[in-house]
């Protein structure tokens, strides 16, 4: 290998190494049979078992999954509809809508969290499940819109028209033609939303209350107290779950030849 190529490969490996090293260390130490030290003492599943014995943790995990699934579903519904409408129609306020979606996607999490908190407070809504759900749906929508829009832009412009020409109403045309073709993108959008929701810290931080605990916030409060193998195990599980979801989503978004 020429020195130039060697240098290039080395650089790539270095950066990849940087990206993955901490995670790998985390995963490895979740199996380490040592509570406080980082000396390697052998493989164990103790920490994982401990997780299962912690009812609060399990409840938080369940809550997270519930919120993620619900918000992903609603966000996918709204987002897919929005993407079809943006692609197909001209309407009053369209640039404003597109701008809003873009701004929503770009807004720093903390600003979104604060803004929503102020909204909920001014409506005197108690912080908990419902406020969390509304917030998650909101920040998921732009990602679904972008995912679906990029797929729908590849369609023949006249497909919907052809369906109407043949006698279908707009609803029927969307149901029978557009939706089936968009399914991979819609599913990918759902998976990405689920992931975003599961991992969200900053928005959730401001809009949830003590009555409804979710996993990332639990990890955060635990982590502030220090490193423990249980947290390692928990984080490893979360990483694993995210990894699987992302892989599936990427497979769905791959262009079919």
């Amino acid at each position: 290998m020429s020195p130039r190529n060697a240098a290039r490969t080395a650089y790539l490996v270095l950066i990849y190494g940087f990206l993955y090293l901490p995670i790998l260390v985390l995963i490895v130490y979740s199996f380490n049979d040592a509570k406080y030290s980082l000396e390697w003492r052998g493989v164990t599943w103790t920490w994982y078992r401990n997780l299962l014995d912690d009812p609060d943790l399990l409840q938080a995990a369940l809550n997270s999954v519930l919120i993620a699934a619900l918000s992903a579903t609603v966000a996918t519904g709204i987002g897919a509809l929005a993407a079809v409408a943006l692609y197909r129609y001209e309407f009053f306020g369209k640039p404003l809508l597109q701008g809003l979606i873009f701004v929503l996607m770009m807004t720093p999490d903390i600003v979104m969290g604060i803004a929503l908190l102020i909204l909920f407070a001014s409506l005197s809504l108690p912080l908990g499940f419902w406020t969390l759900l509304l917030a998650h749906i909101t920040f998921n929508i732009p990602f679904v819109v972008v995912t679906v829009l990029s797929r729908i832009s590849g369609f023949d412009r006249h497909l919907l028209e052809a369906a109407r020409d043949l006698g279908a109403t707009e609803f029927q045309a969307v149901r029978r033609v557009v939706l089936p073709l968009l399914m991979p993108a819609v599913a990918a959008g759902w998976l990405l939303s689920f992931t975003l929701s599961m991992d969200d810290v900053m928005v959730s931080f401001f809009v949830t209350g003590p009555t409804f605990e979710i996993l990332p916030l639990k990890i955060y409060s635990m982590a502030r107290l220090g490193v423990t193998p249980e947290i390692n195990a928990l984080c490893t599980l979360m990483l694993g779950a995210t990894l699987i979801l992302i892989l599936i989503a990427q497979l769905l978004l791959r262009e079919r030849t």
């Binding site: 790539l12 901490p22 109403t169 707009e170």
Partner: protein, 284 residues
């Protein structure tokens, strides 16, 4: 006379309503709140004031702001310096490897940055992995105090945000027409000239996008500062959080948030300008 189109009305109505209620309205309220006074029992008192913005320029808070800006900027710059060559090299890899290589960047992009920041803690602890390694190698005699320093926070943010810089850079570098570079070389230009006058201007939108995606979160990521910087690190993100949770000074926190938003607006405008410039100069 216009035909009614139920589907269009439904779709546009739903998204329009949701965004107005949960995106437009909260931000308007945010701005309004920043102009009010803090309340006693209530979170805000309905009295208009510019005090909150004035307080932002108080040396104490100004210091926090400048610190955050400095940290976020340093992180962004590092991300750019490390990420640009990386993204470029990725585009030069054989086509059949690229999907996999790209996936390896996307995975950290989507995984929880909280988890990844926590992983950083394990690495940098006094009895952490890095120190163990250095001790074992004999490079140091005593463990280094890596945590709870500014460098740790930068390292943590760098780690969390690097993928956000790489992906937009990759997207724009991939679209770069190789033939332009060949044409320049054919005309006798050296590499520095080629970079400065062709590659850089054409990839500018990607650079600005990457900076947007790293700088703004960098200002707000209070959990990185918490976990890696400890009590000593007070950044804008932490400031805002404290105002809302501990100090209960919502208007002040809102003002700081609005400041962040204005910054974002400014960067978005820079992005828009750079994209327009790149498009104007682009070949048909």
């Amino acid at each position: 006379m216009r035909r009614k189109e139920p589907f269009k009305l439904t779709a546009v109505g739903v998204i329009g309503f949701w965004l107005t209620a949960f995106a437009l309205l909260p931000n308007l309220l945010l701005v309004v709140a920043s102009l009010l006074e803090r309340g006693g029992d209530e979170f805000v008192a309905l009295i208009l004031t510019l005090d909150n913005y004035r307080r932002l320029f108080d040396p104490l808070y100004l210091g926090v702001l400048l610190d955050s800006l400095w940290l976020a900027a340093a992180t962004t710059l590092l991300c750019l310096l490390l990420g640009y060559p990386f993204a470029y090299l990725l585009t030069r890899m054989p086509a059949r490897w690229r999907p996999l290589l790209l996936l390896l960047v996307i995975v950290p992009f989507w995984t929880s940055s909280l988890v990844r920041t926590y992983a950083m803690v394990i690495l940098l602890q006094t009895n952490g992995w890095l120190n163990q390694l250095l001790l074992d190698l004999g490079w140091i005699a005593e463990p280094l105090e890596l945590l709870y320093t500014e460098s740790a926070v930068i390292a943590g943010m760098l780690y969390a945000l690097l993928p956000f810089m790489i992906l937009p850079l990759y997207a724009v570098l991939e679209k770069l027409d190789r033939r332009l570079i060949e044409a320049a070389r054919d005309l006798g230009a050296g590499w520095i000239t080629i970079f400065r006058r062709i590659i850089l201007p054409l990839t500018l939108p990607g650079i600005v996008a990457g900076c947007l995606l790293t700088f703004l979160p960098g200002l707000g990521m209070f959990y990185v500062a918490d976990l890696l910087g400890g009590a000593r690190a007070m950044l804008v993100g932490n400031l805002i959080r404290d105002q809302f949770l501990s100090a209960r000074d919502w208007p002040f926190g809102a003002a700081a948030s609005v400041l962040l938003t204005v910054l974002m607006g400014f960067l978005l405008w820079a992005y828009y300008l750079s994209a327009r410039r790149a498009n104007r100069g682009a070949l048909p």
